[in-house]
Symmetry: C2
DNA sequence: CCAAAAGAGTACTGGTCAGTCCAGTACTCT
DNA sequence: AGAGTACTGGACTGACCAGTACTCTTTTGG
């Protein structure tokens, strides 16, 4: 009875618990600051079980990073739908900017960035993978949106990918750097509002 | 005879050698990837001597980071002198942008950024210090330059600090992120040229 | 020239941690 | 019910490493 559900049962549950615990501890204490015993303990699982599911620490780390990378779609989708009515262009773009900012200044996202950057020497493939599947993919989506706006005559852009980069840079350079260096993921709503409107205004001044 | 020079002699020479070796190894292998024995060996010094000059590993790390932070002045000074003749504004600004890009995509600088970000959890003061003395100071200098240009009617900016942030974001968001994640400090001259001209053009479109 | 300080070299302590081993227990599927 | 598989818990190995101890040599500065 219910074969799939029973297959899911213990083994898969443990697997999930380990992944979740590992993600949490790695994000919190970094790769080398995390011991396999920490993970086992938080997952409420014996160390043996951890090693049964993940051959070693590196593999576990890679898996949790790629797993979170997979979950980026919702954030990226956000960049795809922008109402294309001429009237409220600035307003719509500001709103998009605002959501973009919220998504990328989320503490978990910032922590993940730090984690990947910190270990990009040891795991170069991970950094590259994340850069391509997270970063470049998001930019490409944004560029496509800009292309639509350009086709409709709402913007004047020849290199939409470059424009997407500029849009991100205008918005994110400040808050992301601050978060990276000071660890303060403290951005008030008002801060983000200000960044979104100012960035969008500069962008439109340049590209409309 | 020559008291200062003799003072400089052995002790100071060793001190310098240790700092230099530590900088090199830390940049290369990260904080926890570096052992005190590594440093002693590279500095051609006994481990005892390392501990005579620096009380412990954390202190040594903090010292080398702050030392490199001190050496930022030349890079920052670069942002202060911009010819203010109306004629070649775009050209001059592009040239500034180009130098800015070269300075900040330098492999050593990128490695330092990584090192600080990676350890911002463990050494929050270091990250904050670097952010303030490197980052914010540079932006303030650039803002002052923009103020001069605005006073002369060459630019139209009300919030010069914001404009400085936008200028940096337009230029640096792409290459710095790429370098952070992929580890590839491979930026061809042509790439940098392209980034500088495109960024400057967008900036002037928004702020002139 | 001589005492004090600095350094070399090497061995040692104490602690952490990835990964393994093993003996016994719980679960799952037929 | 019963065989096979997964999980537990704890002990263990081997490696690494920060920081110390100790003895012997070199440098320094008066």
């Amino acid at each position: 009875m219910k074969k799939e559900l029973t297959m899911d049962s213990r083994s898969a549950r443990k697997h999930e618990a380990i992944l979740e615990a590992a993600t949490s501890v790695f994000l919190d204490k970094g790769y080398s600051g995390t011991s396999m015993d920490d993970i086992a303990k938080l997952a409420a699982v014996s160390k043996q079980t951890v090693y049964k599911h993940f051959s070693d620490k590196e593999k576990l780390f890679a898996d949790i990073v790629l797993a979170t990378t997979d979950r980026l779609d919702t954030t990226i989708d956000l960049l795809a739908d922008l109402p294309t009515d001429a009237a409220g262009l600035e307003e719509n773009l500001t709103k998009l900017a605002r959501q973009f900012l919220t998504a990328l200044t989320d503490p978990r996202v910032i922590q993940l960035r730090r984690l990947i950057i910190a270990n990009a020497d040891v795991f170069p493939e991970l950094g590259t993978e994340w850069y391509q599947r997270g970063f470049e993919r998001g930019l490409a989506t944004l560029a496509a949106t800009f292309q639509r706006l350009t086709d409709q005559g709402l913007l004047r852009i020849d290199d939409t990918l470059l424009a997407a980069n500029h849009f991100s840079g205008l918005l994110l350079w400040i808050p992301v750097n601050k978060a990276m260096f000071t660890g303060s993921t403290q951005h008030t709503e008002a801060d983000l509002d200000r960044l979104a409107t100012a960035g969008t205004r500069a962008f439109l001044a340049a590209y409309r």
